[in-house]
Assembly symmetry: C2
Homo-oligomer: 394 residues x 2
């Protein structure tokens, strides 16, 4: 049978790279490919206790339908504690609980994008967001970055053009895939420009809490006086990703539209899980827990960067992330990272080739390395293997 699909469904394509990377489940492969947090750091005992408590004290409500906007206690703690950590003064009524921040991204696309609309994003940007925007047939206006994030002069040139972009999508903290952090100065300038040009900013901020040295950066949203910044948060990198709990923090009037989208999309998030996480946040100090994650990931980042320095040829450069899960490697121009991956997998080491992270797919000589999910000893060995593969490719 031949199904007649909508136009938008025709852009849904299976990823060849995803197919290739299925082999990373084999234990003999050292994988720097996924964006997986280390499961050894999940607060299992605490979450198990919270689950028992919710079942023992509140099971009827926890298994019944609940409000579309989310569980009250959880919205409170996100508004008044988690957002406050990012220096955002927020309110209960500005929070919608979503199925991870991925759902927040999808809602933004559905809410703002007509076919063929322009959007602004960093170059490169998060693959999972690009895949969403592609299904809405977005056109990209990309802003180059340096070590301080988006180059604001370039952003301003784009805003002055006649493309009428619908929003700016940015990951200011420890960006996926580059690990780059936007400076505070640039955050202020970006929000000022957005306000001036009346353009929404989608601040995708899954990694902000996982900062290796210094304080958490103030979110773009903390500089937002007029409601142009939409903040997307998640517990995937601080608690665990399997529970699929994230949030949108936005101006209440705009949030109302998000709530109506949530209603038609899947009614609401898992009631039980929202109560378990709410109770966890009320009972334990998540920031103490995050410090343990930071300790391990800092060590692994150090180990990966040191191994790269030791084994990679000096002309191969990588970023030095101050948080998050990834470093970004620039290969010599003539090396196609997708071709490199095929050989690397034979040598039992995996990564994600960089091209799909560029909205216009115009650079092939980059790759993304994850350091959060491999034990220390495998990081060194994996980088050594990868160095050999790269050299054999010259």
């Amino acid at each position: 049978m031949q199904y007649i699909l909508a136009e938008r469904a025709k852009t849904l394509k299976a990823s060849e790279i995803r197919e290739l990377l299925k082999v990373t489940e084999q234990p003999e492969i050292i994988s720097f490919a996924g964006g997986l947090p280390d499961p050894a750091l999940f607060p299992i005992e605490e979450l198990a206790k919270m689950s028992q408590t919710v079942f023992a004290t509140d099971a009827h409500a926890a298994l019944q339908y609940g409000p579309t906007e989310g569980y009250g206690l959880l919205r409170d703690i996100i508004a008044y504690e988690r957002m406050a950590k990012a220096k955002v003064i927020s309110h209960h009524d500005e929070i919608l609980i979503t199925a991870g921040s991925q759902q927040g991204i999808e809602f933004c696309a559905r809410l703002f994008l007509n076919d063929g609309d322009y959007i602004i994003c960093e170059d490169p940007s998060y693959l999972g967001a690009i895949n969403v925007f592609d299904t809405y047939h977005a056109n990209y206006l990309t802003v180059p970055m340096d070590e301080d994030g988006m180059i604001i002069e370039e952003l301003e040139k784009i805003l002055q053009s006649n493309h009428k972009p619908k929003f700016i999508y940015t990951i200011p903290d420890f960006q996926n895939p580059t690990g780059i952090t936007m400076s505070i100065e640039r955050r202020k300038r970006l929000v000022k420009l957005a306000t001036q040009y009346k353009i929404p900013v989608i601040e995708d901020n899954p990694y902000g809490d996982v900062v290796f040295s210094g304080e958490r950066n103030p979110a773009l949203k903390s500089f937002d006086t007029d409601g142009w910044v939409i903040f997307l948060g998640t517990f995937s990198k601080t608690l665990c990703p399997g529970l699929r709990v994230g949030w949108v923090c936005a101006n209440q009037k705009l949030l109302h539209k998000f709530i109506m989208l949530k209603q038609v999309t899947d009614l609401q998030c898992n009631t039980l899980t929202q109560r378990e996480i709410g109770l966890y946040l009320k009972t334990y100090n998540i920031d103490e827990h995050i410090r343990k994650i930071i300790e391990v990931y800092t060590r692994r980042r150090d180990l990966m960067l040191a191994s790269i320095k030791q084994y990679f040829a000096p002309d191969i450069k990588c970023t030095s992330p101050n948080g998050g899960l990834f470093t970004w490697v620039k290969l010599p121009k003539n090396i196609d990272a997708a071709e490199l991956l095929v050989v690397a997998l034979e040598e039992k080491v995996a990564f994600v080739p960089g091209a799909p992270f560029f909205p216009n797919k115009n650079h092939k000589n980059f790759l993304r390395l994850n350091y959060s999910n491999m034990p220390d000893e495998k990081i060194k060995e994996g980088i050594k293997r990868l160095a050999h593969v790269i050299e054999s490719f010259r």
Copy 2:
């Protein structure tokens, strides 16, 4: 600030009725409004045990990212046991786990509908589906029903017209809102027509297991030889709705498109919850559990129909559902159920007015009554109150 939204977002409107019905949370109100299962019937002890077991034996995997298509064991049990109950011969690779069947409906709309496309559905139909289709600017070709469901001759006339409808949306078992069941003869004819006209059928089947007398009906999908029927299932009415676990069962080639939509939408369903439900289904006999639900709901259906017969004037008719959660009441032509609701709420009894269930909103003198979530004694009292309100409205 004035946000510039996508065209589709402009149809997202807050429901006045939903606002009105917020008062049903007050305990003194007898509510026949929601579609809530009775929480006293949730298998709390069993689910609590399953949760403990998953945390004790499988926590790392249960809290980590998992496959987009869903947890293997759960997909197996759905394919080989749950679908088999509906007489469908299915396979693991034909099952995608979704956030309730609502997400399945939304995916169907996103996958098939271009702006302004025609779709076919029953008149009236499920409000939550109509709200989804409205956001995709669907046009409706409605098929009238009698006590055996869609009138197939009317469906055939529509198929012969030149509207090129994208799919047929139907709830064959104990339809929401009417409680009507499609006869087996008509199921066969519908699938035959769909195959002949090469048009997908979305079989929304949340209530099929909750059958009051006789066996579960064979699903439309059980008569599908060529892959035109997309079956949407859920555990919301058989276990509990708060966990948000449903599924799509479709031809593998088509399911692949659904999986890619799931990937961009929210990556995957809650890993922990999928394992808890999978383990529940492996450990306990859910059909025994469903029998308890059936016993209670049968009694309440009987009580509601008897009360209607006792208290309502003889010119007011309601349907006699053989399963599910709802009966559907036809009022005298001159009574607007939305106006009736305002007075009913003053008398502390609630229902959902029928107009929004009609895709073209062209009938005001119907209302939907739910009998699953009120204790026996309140059913009689509520119907008595409602009868008074109706009579005062003549």
